[in-house]
């Protein structure tokens, strides 16, 4: 049976169009929030840029060049106008550097770490959850439960500090921080993978427990199919929807984990770019980063909903 064939592509496209249309005011809303907070906040990008020399003529010229001497409403409308043309502006902190390039360069390392972390979480979490579900209340099941609870409750930076202490400082197997060679990926990926791993293992266990009680699994067993065939072909396949969507959503966890992880391990990614941009009052960069993060989050949510609907024929779109 191919559930996807049951949904007409016209419906999918109409649903997508409606959801995308709904995200436009949302994205505009987030840029407005950033704008309002930015204007209300103390600290002046011109002063950060020029330092405290205090030459009023130079300051006024820089202010005019950045458009900061205009009324606030006009500044916001100009920003929106440029955004419509796909122009994110030029960084305040690094004159001449287009924000698009600044963010583009930072995105690579973060996506690499996030992607590897989620992949590791799926590769380890699905078998763990599967084994736990097949033998409820066993020692392994308890171990998985303890692991998931720790993964969810213990802060990222505590895990990172512990790993650095053991593997970098005591055993000296891995570098403390840095970027550029595969060995530098190991610790940040472990840290970022822990929470996704906890969620994937937990969801796999839950989804399988509920699928294993369904009628068709009982029927398959009654037909005389071996446990491997029942567990893998019938149960795991049907739990796959839930597991896949959870994995997709944990990518957003791995990406926000970047703020702390990249700071600790010195990764030149989005997390570090964000903190730097905020401390430097680099508003064009901040706006671009917020746009990118909220856009990614909304897209992940949309893909998750779409994945649910496409893979599970019981869900219907309302158009």
């Amino acid at each position: 049976m191919t559930p996807a064939a049951r949904v007409s592509w016209g419906t999918v496209l109409r649903y997508l169009a409606r959801r995308l249309a709904a995200t436009v005011p949302l994205v505009l809303g987030t840029t407005l929030v950033v704008f309002v907070v930015g204007r209300w906040a103390p600290g002046d990008p011109v002063q950060v840029l020029l330092g405290d020399i205090g030459d009023p003529v130079t300051e006024a010229r820089a202010r005019a060049k950045l458009g900061l001497d205009r009324p606030i409403v006009e500044q916001y409308l100009r920003f929106l106008g440029r955004l419509l043309h796909g122009d994110l502006g030029v960084s305040y902190a690094y004159p001449g550097m287009p924000v698009r390039r600044l963010v583009g360069e930072a995105l690579g390392p973060s996506l690499l770490l996030g992607g590897l972390a989620v992949a590791a979480a799926v590769v380890l979490g699905v078998p763990l959850g599967l084994l736990a579900a097949l033998s409820p209340r066993s020692a392994l099941d308890r171990l998985v439960r303890a692991l998931t609870l720790t993964g969810i409750a213990i802060p990222f930076f505590v895990v990172a500090v512990g790993l650095v202490l053991v593997f970098s400082l005591r055993l000296r197997w891995l570098p403390v921080s840095g970027w550029g060679t595969p060995i530098h990926l190991v610790l940040p990926v472990i840290v970022l993978a822990l929470r996704p791993l906890a969620y994937v293992a937990r969801i796999t266990r839950l989804a399988l427990r509920s699928v294993l009680q369904e009628d068709y699994v009982r029927t398959a067993r009654a037909k005389g199919l071996g446990p491997a065939a029942v567990n893998l072909r019938h149960a795991l396949r049907n739990a796959a929807v839930t597991i896949a969507t959870t994995a997709g959503l944990t990518l957003s966890l791995a990406l926000t984990g970047a703020f702390v992880t990249e700071t600790i391990f010195g990764v030149p990614g989005m997390g570090r770019a964000t903190v730097t941009a905020i401390l430097q009052r680099d508003y064009p960069a901040i706006q671009a980063i917020v746009l990118l993060y909220t856009g990614l989050f909304l897209a992940l949510n949309l893909l998750t909903d779409l994945g649910y609907a496409l893979l599970d024929p019981r869900i219907r779109y309302t158009t």
Partner: protein, 280 residues
């Protein structure tokens, strides 16, 4: 009264939760009483006594500025609990008012308020926190403000859904049929039932909010020195991780235990207080 009975049953039944409450009382009591029982101020630097190991005078030793670690841990807990408690209280109240207004009044009010929650929910929480405290400056009122702004939207949406559900329930329909005004229905019947749910959610929110506060402090845009915070102490200790790992390990352990027991207590309370799972 039913809530009180549920609480009583809860205290008797759940051993993990009871142990967690004991640990929480220890942490909370230590944080509350530290100004009275500790002979050391939290910011007294004694540069001739840096990096001391545990002793009779300093039970957990001293840090890189010669300050008493145990005293700073307790003061850090005080600050964390105060910030998180205020933030959770604030976002619960904001969420309660907006959720009730949206679900109870409906119509255009509902539409406007829900679009507003959409905007706040579109931000990744940590990004929003860093943005607000980073731009406004890392002062405690702004940290509380940022934490409250992150929490209220989710709370408002869940309480709105609950209020909408309640409006269709028989006892509300009956009250309306008996001639009760909509403000009386909202204040007496809907509010009373929504408040329990708000309390349940609030108890679940404390742990994550403490985690957020300590993350901000760890990044250097939360609580500022010389005030202690668990996140800040971990960041300070990180610089001396090779030579004096205990300066990092103590606050890490206390923070993790605090979040863990808060999670246990929150989940257990939620189960006991939630009218839908309460045994009849």
């Amino acid at each position: 009264m039913t809530a009180a009975r549920a609480l009583g049953r809860w205290a008797g039944g759940d051993r993990v939760a009871a142990a967690s409450v004991a640990v929480l009382l220890l942490l909370g009591g230590g944080s509350a009483l530290v100004p009275m029982i500790s002979p050391h101020p939290y910011d007294a630097q004694r540069l001739e006594e840096t990096f001391q190991g545990p002793s009779r005078a300093h039970w957990l030793g001293t840090d890189h500025l010669g300050r008493d670690v145990l005293t700073r841990l307790a003061y850090g807990g005080r600050i964390s609990f105060l910030i998180s408690g205020t933030a959770v209280l604030a976002h619960t109240l904001i969420g309660l008012v907006t959720g009730l207004a949206a679900g109870g009044i409906g119509g255009r009010t509902d539409a406007v308020l829900m679009r507003l929650t959409d905007v706040f929910l579109a931000f990744p929480p940590l990004l929003f926190l860093i943005l607000v405290t980073g731009l406004l400056g890392p002062r405690i009122p702004y940290i509380v403000l940022a934490l409250s702004l992150v929490g209220w939207a989710g709370m408002a949406r869940q309480l709105r859904a609950e209020a909408l559900g309640l409006r269709a329930r028989d006892f509300v329909v009956a009250a309306r049929a008996l001639g009760a005004t909509s403000s009386r229905i909202l204040g007496r019947h809907v509010l009373a039932n929504v408040v329990t749910l708000a309390a349940v959610r609030a108890s679940l929110d404390v742990g994550p909010v403490i985690l957020s506060e300590s993350t901000l402090s760890f990044l250097g845009i939360g609580v500022q020195p010389p005030l202690p915070s668990w996140g800040l102490m971990i960041a300070d200790g990180f610089a001396h991780l090779r030579t004096h790992p205990r300066l990092t390990l103590y606050p890490s352990a206390v923070l993790s235990v605090a979040i863990l027991v808060l999670t246990f207590v929150g989940e257990s309370l939620a189960e006991a207080l939630d009218p839908r799972t309460r045994p009849r």
